[in-house]
């Protein structure tokens, strides 16, 4: 039994109040007697040697106390808790995030969660519809509503086989989807099975009829939360691998950290960390390609404790040092100053063409148009400098702005990172209005219009520098080649990842591909799959999203008449939040509500109504007894 409104028990203070009133002794029905002589003497005899009034059992008092207790209990809304669900429409949401891989269950939290899901399934009424959702990298409907429990059991077995995703999960998204599936809260029930660890998002109000089955017990975990190769842009042949180890538990822990490059040890030493502490290890790397691998092996804790490290998923991390492939840039109509700036960068492979040299398509990673632009926006990536009037990017008003200054620019954008544009000088520049999806990154003062625009759509990605270069001193500035390199870096597929193809598990990877290209995927487990690049959503790159498996994945792009492109990337958990595996006792809901963790689905059956009826009955009985006594005394 539990109390749905424990505050209602405050009403129990009426019990001592009633007893106190009883002892105060109210004036009863007066009765005239011949003399009090005998009574007074009798009373003296009784009270002799007794300093206080003796408690006399009274049916009225007993009934009054029972009524008050029953009303207090009613206010507290007592409820019977029975195992099982009563709903005929049940949505089970299973947390499959990385923390569910912690080994404090049987053996994993996920296994416990699946057992509890199966137990929930067993207690559901016969013929009820059950849906199964998995909240991992994505929220998936593993099994839509079905009355066939065998299917749900099979789906649970498949989830057990698949294991937890090495990523964070969005319980909010999962609950929203579950609420949509459930429909009216009165007609269905959501059972969320999770450890609730590292929950940072606000959960939606579920509208009741939701259970939270908690799993997990411990929080001892030492994990690799960062493992990446960092290369300074100016130091092409100098790089360092940065490893950050964190103790996310509540007790001091120790582990053996080992970092290898292609199997050869780079570093190995013992790491001891206090609760919440981190240790950063930076190692220089001179190789221009290879695979870095870091491992943590739990050691007995400082002070002689046993070796404990509950989450194995964050005990390994990988980083790929990719071969430096030059970026292929096709220039159409570029002026010598632009070409010179591009050619100064050895990582660029330039193919210059005249202004009329555009054929409608290109294999280049990026196409640079200067003083010219096709009538329609080409698919892929482009950088347009001073596109002429009539282009689909800008609308020319015909006016010119004399000697404008750039008044504002987005210093945080990757294209403008580290640039100072405020002292650029301009002659007369045309006033333009951006078209399509372009948004300004830098603007002239007043009504001068934009200087720099960028847009990203499913079919293309583009950057536009609006004024002619020769109308300013920009080509003469150091900022000019930096602006070009930044723009090409933002435009090129995979450009944001840098030299090391190191991903957090679940992060998408872009592969240069066109619709119709075939891609072979070799997963860390050795499993090989094939996929075809779809037309929809292609902007010259194929977005590979299934990066949940930890380790090295190799993608091989095949295109008829073209050389195969092979890309190997690494997926690691490296997520400090997900390395925090402390389970929660309750999930907070909007409006001050919460879902308390339970071991099993409980069917709560309030019985405040019968209790209230009992209280009223007792009250009636008390009233009747009172009247009866009044009458008898009268």
């Amino acid at each position: 039994m539990e109390l749905l409104q424990p505050l209602g028990l405050v009403a129990l203070v009426t019990l001592p109040a009633i007893v106190a009133l009883y002892f105060l002794r109210q004036r009863q029905q007066p009765r005239r007697v011949g003399s009090l002589m005998l009574w007074a003497k009798a009373r003296q005899q009784i009270l002799r040697g007794r300093p206080w009034e003796r408690f006399r059992p009274s049916w009225l008092l007993l009934l009054q106390l029972l009524v008050a207790a029953a009303i207090a209990a009613t206010l507290a809304r007592p409820a019977c808790v029975a195992e099982g669900v009563e709903s005929e429409r049940l949505v089970i949401v299973l947390d499959a995030s990385a923390s569910m891989g912690a080994l404090d269950g049987a053996p994993r939290r996920l296994d416990v969660a699946i057992e509890r899901a199966e137990a929930t399934l067993e207690t559901a009424p016969e013929g009820s519809e059950v849906a199964l959702l998995s909240a991992g990298r994505l929220t998936r409907v593993v099994e839509p509503f079905t009355t066939d429990r065998g299917k749900v059991r099979q789906a649970l077995a498949a989830l057990r086989e698949r294991g937890p995703d090495a990523t964070a999960a969005s319980l909010k998204e999962a609950l929203l989807l579950a609420m949509q599936l459930r429909g009216d809260p009165q007609e269905g029930r959501i059972v969320l099975i999770s450890d609730g660890a590292n929950l940072t998002e606000r959960l939606p109000a579920t509208g009741g009829n939701t259970d939270f089955i908690g799993v997990g017990e411990g929080d001892a975990n030492l994990g690799i939360v960062t493992f990446e190769l960092r290369r300074a842009p100016s130091q092409r042949f100098s790089a360092a691998v940065v490893t950050v180890v964190a103790n996310t538990g509540s007790a001091p822990l120790a582990a053996h950290l080992r970092v290898e490059l292609d199997g050869a040890p780079l570093e190995a030493h013992r790491v001891e960390l206090a609760p919440g502490a981190t240790r950063t290890v930076t190692l220089p790397v001179t190789a221009d390609q290879g695979v870095l691998h870091a491992t943590l092996e739990a050691l007995p804790a400082p002070g002689g404790g046993e070796a404990r490290d509950l989450l194995p998923l964050d005990d390994e991390a990988w980083a790929v040092i990719a071969p430096d492939r030059p970026l292929r840039v096709l220039t159409v109509g570029a002026n010598p100053l632009t070409l010179r700036a591009l050619q100064a960068n050895p990582r660029l492979e330039i193919e210059p063409r005249p202004a009329d040299g555009w054929t409608g398509s290109s294999d280049a990673d990026v196409v640079l148009f200067e003083g010219t632009f096709p009538a329609t926006i080409p698919q892929g990536r482009f950088l347009a400098i001073a596109p002429p009037p009539g282009n689909p990017l800008l609308d020319y008003s015909g006016e010119e702005v004399q000697a404008p200054r750039i008044a504002s620019w987005d210093r945080g954008h990757p294209i403008l990172y580290g640039l100072e544009l405020g002292d650029l000088r301009f002659g007369a520049v045309p006033r333009v209005v951006p078209q399509n999806a372009f948004s300004p990154l830098a603007e002239f003062q007043g009504q001068g219009g934009p200087f720099l625009l960028a847009a990203r759509t499913p079919g293309w990605r583009g950057v536009v520098i609006t004024p002619p270069l020769l109308a300013s001193d920009l080509p003469l500035r150091v900022a000019f080649p930096v602006l070009l390199y930044n723009a090409l870096g933002w435009l090129s597929p995979g450009g944001e990842q840098g030299a090391a193809l190191t991903l957090k598990a679940g992060e998408p990877l872009t592969l240069p591909a066109l619709p119709g290209d075939q891609v072979q995927i070799k997963r860390p487990s050795g499993e090989v799959e094939r996929a075809e690049v779809q037309t929809a959503g292609s902007d010259g790159a194929w977005l590979f999203t299934d990066t949940r498996q930890l380790g090295l994945t190799t993608l091989t792009r095949s295109r008829p008449g073209s050389e195969d492109l092979t890309l190997t990337f690494a997926s690691s958990l490296v997520d400090r939040e997900e390395s925090s595996i402390l389970p929660v006792a309750a999930l907070e809901l909007p409006g001050g509500g919460e879902l308390r963790a339970q071991d099993r689905v409980a069917r709560v059956e309030p019985f405040d109504a019968p209790l209230l009826a009992g209280a009223l009955l007792l009250l009636g009985l008390e009233w009747a007894l009172f009247l009866y006594r009044q009458r008898r005394q009268a």
Binding site: R25, R27, Q28, Q29, P30, R31, R32, V33, G34, S35, L36, M37, L38, W39, A40, K41, A42, R43, Q45, I46, R54, R56, R629, R632, Q633
Partner: protein, 297 residues
């Protein structure tokens, strides 16, 4: 020719007729002042032979026993018991306490005894007591005085406080001989035994009818009540539970024992009376068993 029964609401005519066959039984010879129907200690002109004594000059020659003179050759006069009327003093406690459940009963009991006494030819005085002697009627004689007696009793109002000792002293100043029938609850904090002592000092014959209401003898258990003293107006709130009831009974027994002991010591007749008992049953039962009332033969 028989006289009709007095018209009164206090006693039923049938009951009155039954009472006419009764008499207050007096142990020993009475000492009266006037000639009546009771055997007395006074020798005189009665018809019932008592004794002889030697003739003295001045004796009534009609009482000379000629037979003795013939046999003994000496003069003796015959002595006779002189029948005298007896004085009955009916003393009724008319304080407020008597009005609580026993007033009417006390009026009826006193009326019945007065009627018996009047029918038996006794002189009857009726006294109403409160903190002092508050009303008197009598002496009354003969059955024809019964309406007056009953009327007086009917008009007795039970009110005021009791000072039994003082009131009885005033009664005793009036009632110098005869029998005192004292009807009271004796629920007075003081002066109970002193009142009886006063009567004993007058060498009066006394019948004490200790009259209590049924609820005074056996209060109901389990009541939450505020008791109000009929005389003083004082209040006492209590729960009549087993313990308090036992203590009350103990006090009542103490009171009864005190009165019984005093009556026994003074040679009085002590009869506890409950007001729920029908008066006829009381007179023919308890009072007859106690020897206070007898049937005329």
């Amino acid at each position: 020719m028989t006289q009709p029964e007095p018209a009164t609401s206090l006693l039923e005519p049938d009951f009155l007729r039954m009472l006419e066959r009764l008499t207050l039984q007096l142990q020993g010879r009475i000492r009266g002042t006037r000639q009546g129907e009771r055997r007395s200690t006074r020798r005189g002109t009665g018809v019932e032979f008592e004794d002889h004594r030697a003739y003295a000059v001045g004796d009534d020659l009609r009482h000379l026993d000629w037979h003795l003179m013939a046999r003994l050759d000496a003069l003796f006069v015959r002595l006779f018991q002189e029948p005298q009327e007896h004085e009955i003093h009916l003393v009724l406690d008319a304080s407020a306490s008597m009005g609580c459940g026993k007033g009417r009963f006390a009026q009826q009991l006193a009326g019945a005894l007065a009627y018996v006494a009047l029918c038996a030819g006794d002189r009857v005085g009726i006294y109403a007591l409160r903190d002092r002697l508050d009303g008197v009627v009598g002496p009354l004689r003969g059955k024809q005085a019964a309406p007056r007696a009953l009327d007086f009793l009917e008009r007795v109002a039970f009110a005021g406080e009791t000072d039994l000792e003082r009131a009885v002293r005033e009664v005793a100043a009036t009632a110098k001989r005869g029998t005192v029938v004292l009807i009271s609850d004796f629920l007075t904090p003081a002066g109970r035994v002193e009142a009886l002592r006063t009567l004993a000092a007058r060498r009066l014959r006394v019948i004490v009818l200790h009259t209590l209401a049924p609820e005074e003898r056996s209060p109901r258990l389990g009541e939450e009540v505020t008791l109000i003293d009929a005389e003083s107006g004082e209040e006492l709130t209590l729960t009549i539970d087993k313990a308090s009831l036992a203590a009350y009974h103990a006090q009542l027994n103490l009171l009864t024992a005190e009165l019984a002991q005093a009556c026994k010591g003074y040679g009085f007749t002590f009869i506890p009376v409950t007001s729920s008992t029908p008066v006829a049953e009381l007179i023919l039962g308890d009072l007859r068993r106690a020897g206070a009332v007898a049937t005329l033969h």
